[in-house]
């Protein structure tokens, strides 16, 4: 049977979509678990009667591997709820393969984008949230869902577990330098909104990719993006050819090396990340999401 294919149009993708990689699961507290395929990372929660899964992973095969990892950690408990961290297919694209009958919770703008996208396998949320803070009590688990404003993707929700002092935030701050071209990041307020999460009382940070971190790693991630914002502007003003990868890698890479060169992936990513950020200042930000008073163009307007 053909796999759900997201936005892919080529039949060549079927084997890639079907692949079920090994998953590594770690229990973080009585109720909070984290799972990764080596790149993407998510969390799931042990409810009184079932499981609350954040996201789906990024292919049908990975969604099934995620489901198997949950079943192994919490045998016999069905996935009753999926919470989408944000709209992107590589995190929330395959609920149809993870748990097609589950309740799906998402931010209202995330739901609007998913409704427009009509990607094969990405199910439309059944319950939407509007606003910046939501106190959740689901199946005996207490936590907060937080939308500080546009950071990455659309309707990106972080999850805060005050009893366990855990923060989960997908595809925002990383514990390394592997940001690449910062796909669909909204630069204007990104660091400001992320620093607001540091005002909460948590100790363990679960990012949407790669390794876990702590407050110091999260704070360094904010410092890192902010430092690239400054160095990229300086590159522009000093007439570095901002459209040349090697030139930006050399200028910004050397300027920030002493402070951030120890971050994993620094040399491979600093040039690309700098090119993306300098274009924010050249062009002015992308869309209403990326302005000082962010908002969204709605579908009937665009």
């Amino acid at each position: 049977m053909a796999e759900h294919k997201g936005l892919f149009t080529s039949d060549k993708m079927q084997a890639w979509l079907a692949d079920e990689p090994a998953m590594e699961t770690t229990q973080l507290s009585d109720r909070v678990y984290t799972v990764t395929d080596g790149k993407v990372r998510s969390i799931f929660l042990a409810g009184d009667t079932g499981v609350i899964a954040f996201d789906t992973f990024g292919t049908p095969g990975r969604a099934r591997a995620y489901r198997a990892a949950i079943e192994k950690a919490l045998p016999g408990k069905p996935i009753g709820t999926i919470i989408y961290s944000h709209d992107h297919l590589d995190h929330a694209g395959y609920a149809a393969d993870l748990a097609p009958d589950a309740e799906i919770i998402a931010d209202e703008m995330c739901a609007k984008v998913i409704g427009l996208r009509e990607a094969d396998g990405q199910l439309v949320p059944t319950r939407t949230l509007s606003g910046t803070q939501h106190d959740m009590q689901l199946d005996g688990v207490r936590f907060q869902l937080l939308n500080p404003g546009p950071t990455h993707g659309t309707g990106n929700l972080s999850a805060f577990f005050p009893d366990d002092k855990i923060l989960y935030s997908s595809d925002t701050i990383l514990t390394n330098a592997r940001y690449g071209l910062l796909p669909d990041y909204h630069i204007a307020n990104f660091v400001k909104f992320m620093r607001e999460l540091l005002e909460l009382d948590w100790e363990t940070f679960v990012p949407g990719r790669f390794d876990l971190g702590d407050r110091a790693a999260f704070s360094k991630g904010c410092d890192y993006i902010e430092a690239i914002q400054v160095a990229s502007q300086e590159a522009f003003v000093e007439m570095v050819p901002i459209w040349v990868l090697g030139a930006m890698q050399g200028y910004v890479g050397e300027k920030l090396r002493s402070q951030f060169g120890d971050l994993d992936g620094y040399d491979a990513h600093i040039g690309l990340t700098s090119i993306r950020i300098v274009h924010h200042y050249l062009m002015g930000g992308w869309g209403l999401e990326d302005t000082p008073s962010p908002g969204y163009l709605l579908a009937n307007e665009a």
Binding site: G6, L7, F8, T9, S10, K12, M13, A15, W16, D87, H88, L89, D90, G93, V113, L116, R117, E118, Q122, T154, R178, G180, L181, P183, D184, A188, Q233, E234, F236, V237, M239, W243, V244, L245, A268, H269, L272, I275, R276, H279, H280, Y281, L282, M283, G284, G285, W286, G287, L288, E289, T291, P292, S293, P294, G295, Y296, L297, A299, E301, A302
Partner: protein, 309 residues
């Protein structure tokens, strides 16, 4: 001028959204502008990288866009004065909202009327960038005809393509089409910044239903229908090759692997294009991300009605 840039020792310049302390010498730097006739009363100007048009009216001048800095905006004003010394700029039309094309009306023509699509103007107003003036007149929808100072043209919004409220200007009597940061000679710019890849090609193809034979892009040189169609074919090919690369397990963040795959798979067909070696791998990486993440935001997930204009 923002407060943080009020340096009495430095010439004052509008500073866009820069946040570092001034002076920002590059903002005021003068650039030579070349000017060439396109057809009838339409002229095109360029400083070598950016390009736009201005049009001679009966009484004055209609300028499209402002160039990318205060200094280039002033050079643009100077170029128009050399070509049409007895006519004053009275109207600026914004192609879209990005600062590198429309960020400095305050330096080009602070008293001019400014026309823009309403989606463009929403972003301009929310941004509040130093030197970028809001529109004085907007239009909504996908097509608006104007007869302004004796100049007949239409402004067309084909759907989300690049930026917000990005419009084409169509001059039916001259058979000229002008549109910025969409079709450009050569491969796409870097990583397709603020391109809306899902609706892009269907939206752009709508413009082929109009009767024009000269296309003026927002960068580099003037082209024609063949160049326009070849550019759209490049995007279609990129979508196919991006899927091929992912199916072979290539990570879009693995720069060496993406570069090698680009050279192997795209060079035979597209290696002749301007800036292929500079940007094609970035183009491919961006397209791979498009398939992995889905389109970006509302604009990036719209489905365009392909009905011809």
């Amino acid at each position: 001028m923002s407060e943080e840039h009020q340096d009495p020792q430095a010439p004052c310049e509008h500073c866009g959204i820069f946040t570092i302390p001034g002076p920002l010498a590059i903002q005021g730097a003068y650039r030579d502008i070349t000017f060439d006739p396109v057809r009838d009363n339409i002229w095109t100007v360029s400083e070598g990288i950016y390009r736009t048009i201005f049009v001679e009216g009966k009484k004055g001048v209609i300028a499209f866009d402002t160039f990318e800095t205060p200094g280039t905006a002033r050079a643009y004003a100077g170029a128009m004065q050399r070509v049409l010394p007895r006519k004053q700029l009275h109207t600026i039309v914004y192609s879209h909202e990005h600062l590198d094309h429309t960020g400095y009306a305050a330096d080009l023509g602070p008293d001019a009327d400014i026309l823009a699509h309403e989606l463009c103007d929403k972003v301009v107003r929310a941004r509040g960038s130093d030197g970028q003036l809001p529109a004085t007149e907007t239009f909504s929808g996908e097509r608006q005809a104007y007869e302004l100072d004796g100049v007949k043209f239409e402004l067309l919004y084909p759907g989300p393509t690049h930026g917000d409220g990005n419009i084409a200007a169509y001059f039916p009597d001259q058979k000229v089409l002008f549109m910025v940061d969409t079709v450009i000679p050569g491969v796409g710019y870097t990583f397709f910044p603020d391109w809306h890849l899902t609706p892009y090609v269907p939206a752009m193809k709508r413009l082929l239903s109009l009767d024009w034979d000269i296309f003026v892009p927002g960068h580099f040189w003037v082209t024609d229908r063949r160049g326009f169609e070849e550019s759209l074919q490049y995007y279609d090919d990129m979508a196919e090759v991006a899927q091929d690369a992912l199916s072979r397990g290539i990570d879009p963040q693995d720069w060496d692997a993406v570069t090698n795959y680009t050279q192997k798979e795209l060079d035979p067909r597209w290696g002749h294009l301007f800036r292929f070696d500079e940007y094609c791998a970035m183009n491919l990486s961006r397209y791979m991300q498009q398939f992995l993440t889905g389109g970006w935001g509302i604009e990036g997930n719209m489905r365009v009605d392909p009905t011809p204009f």
